[in-house]
Symmetry: C2
Subunit: 302 residues, 2 copies
């Protein structure tokens, strides 16, 4: 759709390219209709276009690049994953959930469009993700499309992201130990990050047994990402992050930082990045982008 | 999964069979895990098991029966459609949407489990629907699975159900004319009803051009269903319906009844049933169940 045919090897350039291309994909997918559904599309555009690290689409495309998958196909899959991610943010920000007013430096969807529209915008993006993946433009082989859909549905449902979110709600009432918090985060953010990497490999016709190292990489990156998020919640700059911080401590919620302390959390994140990189040992220079991503997620400031 | 291999031709018997089998499917799919995700699964079970007309699974199975599709496969697809339907009810009942306390004669999910869990239970069922359809047990041919997924995603997203729901929100602020209300309802309830019939045909390997009459049937049945719903809202018995009634008039919302009046609404529903039946003219006795469904939806008391 965008005509761009490859992903730069440099991380910053790749992030810029992905961000521009994901914006363009959403702009095209979410053309505002000239009828009473306009507010729904406006709300989806507000949430989907502009801002966002686009980490998950980057992981899809960087993983797909290992197997010489066409960039446009990987971008479409990345758009589907990002649609799931954005829907989860919209619902997570709702008053009955985290009750956030600011996201990616803008008012949250329910602040800008009302709660009911926010619920429906999230639901619509959820359906859109699977609609994208079912289309032949993603891959000519319906077996691949079906595998992509199964992977994304598992990662986003009760055995993945949504399951992690309910544990997160419980975490405010119970004091979870480190293994339980690790599992919570592996589901809440890890599952979709792992699915992103795995879907790149699925696009590349890599059978399940060939995805073991990539899954190990993704698992470690996902956990490092979450530890960095917990560190950011304590040390970060709200203006730079574009959202409210210091919320976990205020809520008395157990996090990696509250259990391990800042110093050990940072060491743990670096350990995970090293481990993630080791999982890529059998890949050559073409995996450099995935290696850079691992460093990036553990050292981000937003 | 249930071992039952065919659908009775008699409507009441078919509804009883489908209801029992859908309950059994959900009971198996939603086994409560022994971890902090238990409340999420309890909430999904509360919403999915027991009660509900199961009209959409019935339509999938009755349509599939025309093409000699294995009942268990049709039942699995029907379970996916019902998962979408139930998720939409959970979200529709939320305080920020219709704010309903009663559904299918039980407390709504947010009343019983809290709003955050209700949002997540809806989201989880949404993902579950696509997870079911992506599994080879639904159909060995991934092309068929991919077509089923595309059909369901389109029908439930912004170009279908969710689009109709946003129009429904707007309807409380604007006074829509009959064509706009017809389009609203065609999206809000009609799209998923039409998808149910179409998915039965997809399972039966019927190409798009062979589904024209079935789509015509489904369109008319969906509209008759909604007119009956509007009539029920005025004339119905809350105890029998298991939900609050008389809400549209209280909200001053335009409906078929508020525009056409009761008498003409009933005539219109009957006209649509006759039209729906005519769309089945090329099918023989094996379409009797679909014919009975058309009568049933226009004359229901709950």
């Amino acid at each position: 759709m965008t005509g761009s045919k490859s992903l730069p090897a440099n991380l910053d350039a790749a992030l810029d390219r992905i961000s521009a291309d994901i914006d363009a994909e959403f702009a095209q997918l979410l053309a505002v209709p000239d009828d009473a559904r306009a507010p729904l599309y406006e709300a989806m555009r507000h949430a989907c276009i502009g801002g966002g690290k686009r980490l998950r689409p980057l992981l899809v495309c960087a993983s797909a690049k290992l197997f010489n998958v066409d960039y446009d196909a990987a971008l479409r899959v990345g758009t589907a994953v990002e649609a799931i991610h954005v829907y989860s943010l919209i619902h997570d920000d709702l008053p009955c959930m985290d009750d956030d007013a600011l996201r990616r430096g803008k008012p949250t969807v329910h602040k800008a469009f009302g709660e009911a529209t926010a619920v429906l915008a999230g639901d619509s993006l959820h359906a859109l993700a699977f609609e994208i993946l079912a289309q032949p433009s993603v891959h000519a082989d319906p077996f691949i499309r079906s595998e992509l859909i199964q992977c994304l549905a598992l990662a986003s449902g009760p055995e993945g992201m949504a399951g992690g979110q309910i544990m997160d709600l419980e975490a405010e009432r119970s004091s979870f130990d480190l293994p339980t918090i690790t599992r919570l985060q592996a589901l809440k953010t890890g599952a979709l990050i792992a699915a992103s990497v795995e879907m790149g490999a699925i696009l590349g016709h890599v059978p399940a047994e060939g995805r073991v190292h990539l899954k190990g990489y993704a698992h470690d990156v996902g956990l490092a990402f979450q530890i960095a998020d917990d560190i950011l919640d304590v040390e970060g700059d709200e203006a730079l992050a574009g959202k409210a911080l210091h919320k976990d401590a205020d809520a008395g919620k157990g996090t990696f930082v509250s259990i391990l302390g800042l110093k050990r959390s940072k060491e743990q994140a670096q350990l995970l990045v090293d481990q993630a990189t080791q999982h890529l040992a059998s890949y050559g220079r073409e995996a450099d982008l995935l290696r850079s991503v691992a460093q990036y997620v553990s050292q981000r400031d937003r």
